[in-house]
């Protein structure tokens, strides 16, 4: 006997992502799901955002890591509010974990919730968290072949931040190639070139954020 189901395998996650998305919409909160390889600069970028525009945009941070709360601690040191999720081995955050974390954060009082996903360029892509924008970080030392090797990750991005551009002169990194490869799978994506340590290029990224979160605010 054979039965046909055609059921979405990650439907439980998707149901929960829908709940999160409805929550963010209702409370006019812009939610960012930040995805990158380990060490691309997610925590450094978020810390800098808190220092630079934290007085204009009220932000809460959800930190996903396999172990420890060091990243949440770094966010608190930068003056931000953070909740740490330890995934104990899982390579991605799930919508349910985010649902529980935003309760702890009092996210309804925020303008923006930033989720730092577990450092991994592949798996987190498969899990919708209910975010308003998916932000992929690619840092210069990782090499210029990443968009073509991980097309699925870049295809589903709303924003790509090319980070550590201060290292461009020291590393063989073909920016033209990176931009072209990203555009192949995602012609409409926003791309910003930044350095989270020197602050170069961050202005344009903040401008985009202000517009996007302003639009969420206007709907309030």
């Amino acid at each position: 006997m054979k039965i046909s189901l055609n059921q979405k395998i990650l439907s439980r996650n998707e149901e929960c992502a829908k709940k999160n998305r409805a929550f963010f919409k209702e409370n006019s909160v812009l939610c960012l799901n930040v995805i990158s390889s380990p060490g691309s600069g997610k925590t450094t970028t978020i810390s800098r955002m808190i220092k630079d525009v934290g007085d204009k945009i009220r932000m809460g941070v959800v930190e996903g890591d396999i172990k420890t709360d060091t990243d949440a601690q770094k966010i608190r040191d930068a003056g931000g509010q953070a909740v740490q999720i330890e995934t104990h081995g899982a390579c991605h955050l799930s919508a349910e974990q985010v649902y529980n974390a935003i309760k702890v954060l009092d996210a309804e009082k925020m303008d923006m919730v930033i989720i730092e996903n577990v450092g991994n360029l592949v798996c987190p892509s498969a899990f919708d968290l209910g975010e308003g924008a998916r932000v992929i970080l690619l840092s210069v030392p990782e090499g210029d072949d990443k968009p073509i090797k991980y097309p699925g990750t870049f295809a589903e991005a709303d924003v790509v931040l090319i980070n550590k551009i201060d290292l461009m002169d020291y590393i063989d990194f073909n920016l033209e190639r990176v931009l072209a490869d990203i555009r192949v799978v995602n012609p409409d994506v926003e791309i910003f070139q930044v350095s989270a340590t020197t602050g170069e290029g961050m202005e344009q990224w903040y401008e985009w954020l202000m517009n996007k979160s302003g639009a969420a605010q206007a709907a309030r």
Binding site: K2, K8, L10, A90, C91, H92, I148, G152
Partner: protein
Amino acid sequence: MHETAVAESILHTIIAQADKANAKPVSAIISCGQFNTLNDECMQFAFEAAAAGTVCEKTKLVIKHIPLRAKCEQCQTVFEFDVYKPACGQCESKEFDFEPDAPLLLETIEFEG
């Protein structure tokens, strides 16, 4: 390695369906697209590990990979996208729109008898 999460999810469904049908599941077919693709070996390994000691211990898992299609803006041809050659198969144009990538699906379950 989100194959583990996928394995747990399908195992859950297959066990529930096996209970309902009161029969042993012999095989199950799942499918995935190109952007959130599954690695066959990882998937088989994760499923075997998750299924150990359950009614699915001997269930055969079949993984189908569904190609990603794109439509050429120049000549309107619908072609299978290939990252090694990201261009229209007909006119070689690089201007095209993707059709939606296939979702992760549990398609069918076959039971004994």
